[in-house]
């Protein structure tokens, strides 16, 4: 019995130590530089805000901090879509001019491996720009650095929020260099195949409402190849 009394607390301490090491793993970096940003390709940048109040519409299973909006939008409560989020947002160019509409579908990915600091999300963008055409972007995102540096500190904070400055690239694939795959649809982008990355610039996050000050940027390479 006395061995059991010593063993059980030891196991709890061991598990806690392991989780602490996983959380503070010094070998996990925060990707801030993408191969796209250091190449000489011509790029197009589209920025958006995932903050519900600044978006056109947001929906999820209703249990996420960012509540579905506007009022009356249906929640994704069915088992097949419970782990999916949809964002409909205006897209602005580098001058801040509204140039299009983006619809982002994101689902928790079964390739998530917390042991490897990988909180993976499968996401696709359906983008339409009136002057230019439409695009489809397919990517796998690793949200671990975002969760580690923004969401968890907010949850652990006694004031239930986080304020600061955090920048990171969330795109982790499927391209060999960790880039997203872009397929053109209509207009100027018809037959267009390229690469992109998505990055996030966070300023505030609250447990009650999710992102409070956050900007996302899609950087798309314009060195088009033609789809065969």
């Amino acid at each position: 019995m006395k061995y059991l009394i010593a063993l059980l607390p030891g196991m709890l301490v061991g598990a806690a130590l392991f989780l602490m090491l996983l959380y503070h793993n010094p070998f996990v970096g925060n990707p801030t530089v993408s191969p796209l940003l250091v190449s000489d390709q011509q790029l197009i940048e589209l920025s958006y805000s995932p903050v519900p109040a600044e978006s056109i519409a947001v929906t999820n299973n209703g249990e996420a901090p960012a509540q579905p909006s506007p009022d009356g939008i249906d929640e994704l409560w069915e088992p097949g879509v419970r782990k999916t989020r949809v964002l409909v947002t205006p897209l602005a160019d580098v001058r801040g001019d509204l140039v299009g509409i983006g619809i982002k579908f994101s689902s928790d990915s079964e390739t998530t491996r917390l042991l490897n600091a990988e909180a993976m999300v499968d996401s696709v963008w359906h983008i339409w720009m009136p002057e230019r055409g439409s695009l489809f972007i397919d990517q796998t995102e690793n949200l671990w650095p975002y969760l580690r540096h923004v969401v968890m500190p907010a949850r652990l904070s006694s004031s239930d929020n986080w304020r600061g400055t955090w920048f990171g690239t969330t795109t982790a694939g499927p391209g060999a260099l960790g880039t997203a795959r872009v397929t053109g649809g209509s207009g100027q982008f018809a037959g267009f195949v390229s690469e992109a990355i998505e990055s996030v610039n966070a300023g505030a996050w609250t447990v009650d409402g999710g992102p409070a000050a956050l900007n996302g940027t899609l950087t798309i390479a314009l060195s088009a190849q033609t789809a065969d």
Partner: protein, 186 residues
């Protein structure tokens, strides 16, 4: 006592690592794929949307109703020209298996087109472009431009039809007929 405690620590570390390694952190709900095999070796799968209950969003367009009522759509030039819809997507058994967006574009100087993105969380996504006008029976045909995960190496056609449609109710049926790329014989 100290030695047992130390052994407990090691066991705790091993147990936590083992649990994280063997138990998946994410397990997406899966429905069986309801497919029909095509003569070319591909498969056809039918999805549908029940209106109005599966409509999550509808942008302002013509006399159509804006859904949800409080939706504020940007009024900037050009953006109001596209009709955007967001839907829940059902399989042949009437079970929700994904979400979908439909954008009808009327691009400046270009032909208009109907675009669909079908997102099935457990399987992948399909991006398809359809003709803006349907045939005599109202069926719009088009092709899949891109696919992800399960659909990544497939190509084929997508057809859209409105069934039992009135102003506010009805059913949108989407049939994806997809096949793998043919490989050249050695």
């Amino acid at each position: 006592m100290i030695r047992t405690f130390s052994i407990g620590i090691l066991l705790g570390i091993a147990l936590a690592a083992g649990l994280l390694y063997f138990i998946p952190a994410v397990d997406q709900h899966r429905e069986a794929s309801m497919i029909s095999v095509l003569p070319n070796g591909g498969n056809a799968e039918t999805f549908h949307i029940n209106l109005p209950e599966d409509q999550l969003l509808s942008s302002p367009s013509g006399t159509g109703e804006v859904i949800p009522g409080g939706l504020e759509w940007p009024q900037e030039s050009g953006l109001a020209d596209a009709q955007t819809g967001l839907y829940k997507l059902r399989n042949r058994n009437d079970i929700v298996v994904g979400v979908a967006s439909r954008v009808t574009t009327a691009d400046s100087g270009n032909d208009s087109a109907v675009e669909w993105t079908l997102h099935l969380p457990a399987r992948g996504s399909i991006y398809a472009m359809l003709q803006s006008t349907g045939d005599a029976s109202g069926v719009r045909a088009g092709s899949m431009l891109a696919g992800t995960r399960e659909f990544a190496n497939l190509h084929g056609s997508v057809r859209e039809s409105f069934l039992d449609a009135t102003d506010e109710t009805g059913r949108i049926e989407l049939v994806a007929a997809l096949a793998g790329h043919l490989e050249e014989a050695p």
